[in-house]
Symmetry: C2
Subunit: 501 residues, 2 copies
């Protein structure tokens, strides 16, 4: 296990105003994403549709109350880091063993910290993704798995990435696959889709078990969803369970002639989970699996958890999803419950993605509409829900904002400030508010945080010694390679699949 560097604080008393949401120093963050504004702007049609959805849902637009916001923010420029609590005696409840019934409202501070931790793991899949279509590595992760969390300033969570996940699709999922314009690119078919990480010894002591995280990348813009998600359901498993076939294709597709998807995302993950669970169980450790993701990533997390419950038995499995759409039908939901998977869905009330599919009529299911009058329940949500409201935060603008409502950073900000449905925004919330505007325009103007600010200097061009603006070579360590991915996983039978290309 790689060496880690962060301190771990134990045995702090529990209290409701405990400051759970610290950001570690990000001064070493050298990670950027091309926040291509075009790509992220909802199309006119989407905006129009979304506006009528908003109207349907009676979302009221209120005036902001910004009074001393700037002062509040200034005091946040030098946050006092709060220590992490030891949760080794209550980790099962925090992971949802009892369904989170009494932990959500008011939100238990220890649960808040864990939600934010998993959310930041999901956010990492966006922040490290190479969106640059002029890069030969477009669609890959910009860092090797050994560098990922360090480069993103997430080392303080004390996890180590053990495996990268790649996915392709046999179904045309609009705007999903990012492709390089360059002929000799790293891959024509696959995208980096997430990773598996494991808590290190210190973190494992704090949280009472060896935690294996699977973080799934989603989609940044909600535009893509609208056109895509009125598709057909496809059977999964042996029973009546059905799931959206676009999600399933991304999770299951493979092709022996590709470099990165000789095995499917599903096979890659399951193999790695089996290996890790075996490894730590043989050491006599307690093990948990936590699957997380935002948007499409949240849907994949649910599929992944469903499958894992069958193929990797006797391990508690928890899903923590953010702004995820519905995945399958009622039978799927019921099966998932029966398998013992615990699902915590974090949902922003104003975000319309979690209401999909369902709002838009599915032609092939039209007959149901005649009976029920609505199709909302053809696709069914699973598990417990933590509902957040953008109006709760004094930092957020009140105007209608499809992209901002759906942004994962907005979610994390609202989790950080949430105390209970009855309380106002948590004044001790310490997460950097500026992060909200990384890839959207949600913060009140008074804060003076630029919109869509997460961008590389000169889109990655640098001036060489001869005065020429050139794209530097990637650090060899960070160049994706199917063989090197394989080398780290010499123990399992799928290995040969990775050595091919």
């Amino acid at each position: 296990m790689a060496a880690t560097m962060n301190i771990c604080h134990h045995n702090f008393p529990l209290s409701n105003d405990y400051q759970t949401a610290n950001r570690g120093p990000r001064s070493r963050v050298r990670a950027f994403q091309e926040a291509t504004q075009e790509a992220q702007k909802p199309s006119k049609m989407t905006t129009r549709l979304a506006e009528s959805v908003s109207h349907m849902l009676h979302l009221h637009i209120e005036k902001p109350k910004p009074k001393s916001l700037r002062t509040m923010i200034n005091s946040h420029d030098k946050p006092i880091l709060s220590p992490k609590e030891d949760i080794s005696d209550k980790w099962r409840q925090i992971q949802g063993s009892s369904g989170w019934g009494d932990l959500l409202d008011p939100l238990h501070p220890c649960l808040r910290r864990e939600i934010l931790k998993y959310g930041e793991f999901a956010q990492a899949t966006y922040d490290a993704f190479d969106f640059d279509s002029f890069s030969e590595y477009c669609g890959s992760c910009r860092f090797s798995r050994n560098n990922l969390l360090n480069k993103l300033g997430l080392h303080y969570h004390n996890y180590n990435v053990s495996k990268y996940i790649y996915a392709m699709s046999h179904v045309d999922v609009p705007q999903w696959l990012k492709k390089s314009h360059v002929m000799d690119s790293w891959s024509r078919d696959s995208n980096w889709m997430g990773y598996v990480a494991v808590s290190d010894d210190k973190e494992s002591r704090r949280i009472g078990r060896r935690d294996i995280v699977v973080a799934w990348r989603g989609t940044v813009a909600p535009t893509e969803w609208y056109e895509d998600l009125q598709r057909k359901l496809e059977p999964i498993g042996a029973g009546e369970a059905k799931v959206e076939h676009g999600f399933l294709s991304i999770y299951k597709a493979k092709n022996e002639y590709t470099r990165y998807n000789k095995s499917s995302a599903s096979e890659q993950v399951i193999t790695e989970l089996k290996r890790l669970v075996k490894l730590y169980k043989e050491r006599g450790e307690e093990v948990s699996i936590t699957v997380t993701g935002h948007s499409l990533g949240g849907a994949l997390a649910v599929l992944n958890a469903y499958e894992t419950a069958t193929l990797v038995p006797n391990v508690p499995i928890t899903v923590v999803s953010f702004g995820a759409p519905r995945v399958g039908n009622i039978a799927f939901r019921d099966e998932l419950h029966q398998k013992g998977v615990k699902t915590l869905r974090i949902v922003v009330k104003q975000d319309f993605v979690p209401r999909m599919p369902g709002i838009v009529l599915n032609e092939s299911l039209q007959k149901f509409d005649d009976i029920t009058g609505t199709l909302e329940w053809v696709y069914a949500h699973v598990g417990a829900e933590l509902k957040l409201d953008v109006r709760a935060s004094p930092y957020l603008k009140r105007g209608f904002n499809v992209l901002g409502y759906h942004s994962l950073e907005t979610y994390l900000h609202l989790v950080d400030g949430f105390v209970s449905t009855e309380s106002s925004f948590r004044t001790e919330a310490r997460r950097d508010v500026a992060l909200v505007n990384k890839a959207c325009d949600m913060l009140v103007e008074e804060l003076r945080i630029p919109h869509f600010w997460y961008q590389m200097a000169n889109k990655g061009l640098v001036c060489n010694d001869h005065g020429r603006w050139v794209k530097p070579e990637r650090d060899p360590e960070d160049v994706p390679s199917p063989t090197s991915e394989g080398q780290y996983n010499v123990f399992h039978h799928l290995e040969s699949n990775y050595q091919g290309a």
Copy 2:
């Protein structure tokens, strides 16, 4: 005079394939501009209008011939710097004393180098401009005048900036004034509009005289022009001369209650030119004045030259303008010629800004249309023209591109490659092709240069030691100040105007 650092090479033989257009090392460039794509994208209406203009002008769209472009570019990554020629014996011709008749086609290599030098001085006004509306310094120059050329990597031209120019307008010039959203900003009314610079001793020896440059900032996007430039002409001088009143307002407006325009841009420049000319003439030096600018900046350069010819007598005055619109009527043009001002207009054939005003009918001048059938000549262009064609460059895309055609970097690229109307693009052209795409999308995809790449990392936010993303304070030296501007100019009577605020 400030110390400079660059070598100056003398007495090189003249030849047509002489490599004139070197970029000095820009490794120290820390200058960026927020290339806000929105602001720079032409509106639909403008695009439509421009397209019909293009149709009128019979601009033919051809296929690109990119064959070994990438190879060509790669050889440019390590350019061999060509030495600068001594032009002390022919500077008058190069400055247009004989009207450039025999120097333009084929383009004399020494003239090419000088055009590029002045063009880069004009480009500096964009590159250093603070476009960030969340900055309290929005609309100012991001660097003090002592740092400007160094920060932009232009020190190798061996000029020193002696004065900054600020402008306001009493006329509503659409989208012209950049204003900060911040309440307590550096100025509510004025924008940094350019600067005065003087050749240092070495450069003065090379070019045969002390050259005083005035560089005027223009507007990046042509959108703004379309709506604005069908306005009325206003008298200038004592005779029949008239000029576009929007340009004149920016050049002449002042208000004693402002911080930076207690005196007008005109007064600021004329005072500085008088001071400098007096200073160097008293030393017995030959002096020239060269006024340059792109777009609106080119129009201001013409106004400035017109006025300077009267108020600063006995100095040769040359205008080098890029993509400038027409400024005044025929009487204005004639007066300018009579005053002895030499004007070299660099024009890209496909750029429609130099055809304005004139194409769009001016309602108040409709009667002329009845007589002449066209209003093209109500506004008259001045001086000599160097006409460039985007189709000459193998690096440029052929699709219709309003913004790209008008971009100053496109102009500089085409000047660099121009040999004659009969010859193909100069193979020895050494200017970095990547620069073209700084604020537009003109380069063929094969080159893999991102579009609109000139941007700051994270829009200027940096992560502080506490992990917070904050906007750093400006270097105190680079904070604009009306008083410090004054301190450098203690010799002239307008001084008191700058001490007020």
